[in-house]
């Protein structure tokens, strides 16, 4: 980053105090807890921590979490692109309503999101009896966990893309179409390159949240060990089983997955810095 600091007339003391407050805050509320997680994971030694991660129920939880994210994230990426495309490039009745709806999962408590699915797909719910008759399992199984994950991570990609695409307007697309490009070609060669950084950022955030979601998934999981416990649920179960070090070992792995996501994002940003700023200043 070579951007010069904005000139400021503030006293250096103010600047230093603000910086110190910000750093202190981050240190206390973000870095310290993370360090504690990793530290406690090694409470019974590295071998025990590795064993906790390789234990069958832990492996099942890791697989379930990755599977749910692998389904939920692409779905929300496709939905996010479609919705932002529609919102940014077209005018239609109910546009404001659609934007509000997209924000819904941010404002609704995750527990409520989970309960919605229980009320719809549960045995006593609207579709429950029909599903049971046809032996289709939604809640207390993978589909329910995926649905809950999709619901809570639903806004991430769209929220990232809508301002970006609105900002970019539709001039380039109109030019492409007037030059004879098909809809798909316009999307692939004009729109996608313009939004790829926003999209990537949204996808990464979406993925981090998908892997970490607790509340909504907890409601629809049924808590069957080795079957419907995701990583966050498995961590809670271990913690409640007096297996503190094992709980923190799995928590470290979950934190590591999130950190990898962040590092990946930073690396990409750093590597493609010029291209990104070009896209932004378009």
């Amino acid at each position: 980053m070579t951007r010069p600091l904005a000139p400021t007339k503030d006293h250096p003391l103010v600047r230093w105090t603000l910086t110190a407050v910000a750093l202190g805050f981050i240190g206390l509320f973000l870095v310290l807890p993370l360090v504690v997680v990793f530290h406690d994971a090694l409470g019974d030694g590295l071998t025990a921590a590795l064993a906790a991660i390789r234990e069958p129920d832990a492996i099942a939880a890791i697989q379930l979490t990755l599977t749910a994210a692998a389904i939920a994230v692409p779905l929300n990426a496709i939905f996010g692109i479609a919705a932002s495309w529609a919102i940014a490039k077209f005018d239609f009745a109910g546009k404001g309503f659609l934007v509000t709806l997209i924000d819904l999962p941010f404002s609704v408590s995750p527990v409520v999101s989970g309960l919605i699915y229980v009320l719809v797909f549960g045995l006593q719910g609207w579709l429950g009896p029909w599903l049971a008759e046809h032996d289709v399992k939604i809640i207390f199984a993978l589909p329910g966990i995926v649905l809950a994950t999709v619901f809570v991570t639903f806004p991430f990609v769209a929220r990232e893309l809508i301002p970006l695409m609105t900002d970019q307007g539709r001039d380039e697309e109109e030019a492409a179409v007037s030059l004879g490009a098909s809809g798909w070609a316009t999307f692939r060669r004009v729109t996608l390159p313009n939004i790829k950084w926003g999209l990537l950022y949204g996808v990464l955030l979406c993925n981090a949240r998908a892997m970490g979601e607790f509340g909504a998934v907890s409601v629809v999981s049924g808590h069957i060990r080795g079957l419907t416990d995701t990583m966050p649920l498995h961590i809670e179960a271990l913690y409640n089983d007096y297996q503190y070090s094992a709980a923190f070992a799995v928590a470290s792995l979950l934190a590591l997955l999130a950190l990898v996501t962040l590092v990946l994002k930073s690396l990409l940003e750093w590597h493609f810095a010029e291209e990104i700023s070009a896209a932004h200043h378009h």
Partner: protein
Amino acid sequence: MKKIISALAAAAVLASSTALAADITLLNVSYDPTRELYKQINAAFIADWKKSHGGDNVTINQSHGGSGAQSRAVIDGLGADVVTLALAYDIDAIANKGLIEKNWQTRLPNASTPYTSTIVFLVRKGNPWKIKDWPDLIKPGVQVITPNPKTSGGARWSFLAAWAYALRAQGGNADKAKAFVTALYKHVPVLDTGARGSTTTFVQRGIGDVLLSWENEAHLALKEQGGDQFQIVYPSVSIQAEPPVAVVDKNVDSHKTREIATAYLNFLYTKDAQEIEAANFYRVRDPQILAQHAADFPKITLYNFAEIFGDWSKAQATYFADKGIFDQIYKPGQ
């Protein structure tokens, strides 16, 4: 002749079951503090079943949580083959939705309760507040940890134990019992959803001065945390807590697991299983095994639930339903 035929038939059944070693999965939906118990029971049952059923490959999955919440999950479609919950009402609730036959409690010995327990006090080492009996819980400044009776079975037993104590101590005066229990819940700073959550609050997070706990849960906490931090206090009286078990009829019929699910619950009454249960600090039904573990189970007066409270649907409606006595007396933050 009849005998020969039936013997042949039995042999044929045996042979066919031997020939058809199968992969069978059972789901036991249980309450909070039984995690360790059923891990051991499951291993013992699987070994036992394998011996008699020619190497069937049995997997028993476990799900644990507050008893009321678990009951709700089964009602909502969690595919339990058997439920092993904290109290009869939570199984009645499932039966009321038609998933279990209404007469479930008569299908197994001892009202379908293979083991019992009671409610005891867990205090910090040295008992700094000198808590000996129920009245000590409402001394000024004492903080009592117990889960939410709306979701937790252990919490309901704790509530009823306190109520039974006060009722009997006050010569059967229900108003005075209510006054005592009201005072008691004023000393409760936080209600977790399940027994294990409360234990963690008390043991791990260090909140509170006394934990109202299942006897087995208190012993387990001592075992896991070492006896140097906590000690168990037995009040003069408590309640006989009866956590029952049942096969979930609708689910075993659709999973075709009725035979093994029934065998699993019957297994809980065998000497082998009763020994495991006693070793996990449950007061078992087998008098011999109970006698062998007598040192773990001090003799105190245990009130009988039915004698004081009648049946569970009545108790649930009176004390724990919406606008019931618990709702009247518990006002958070007061």
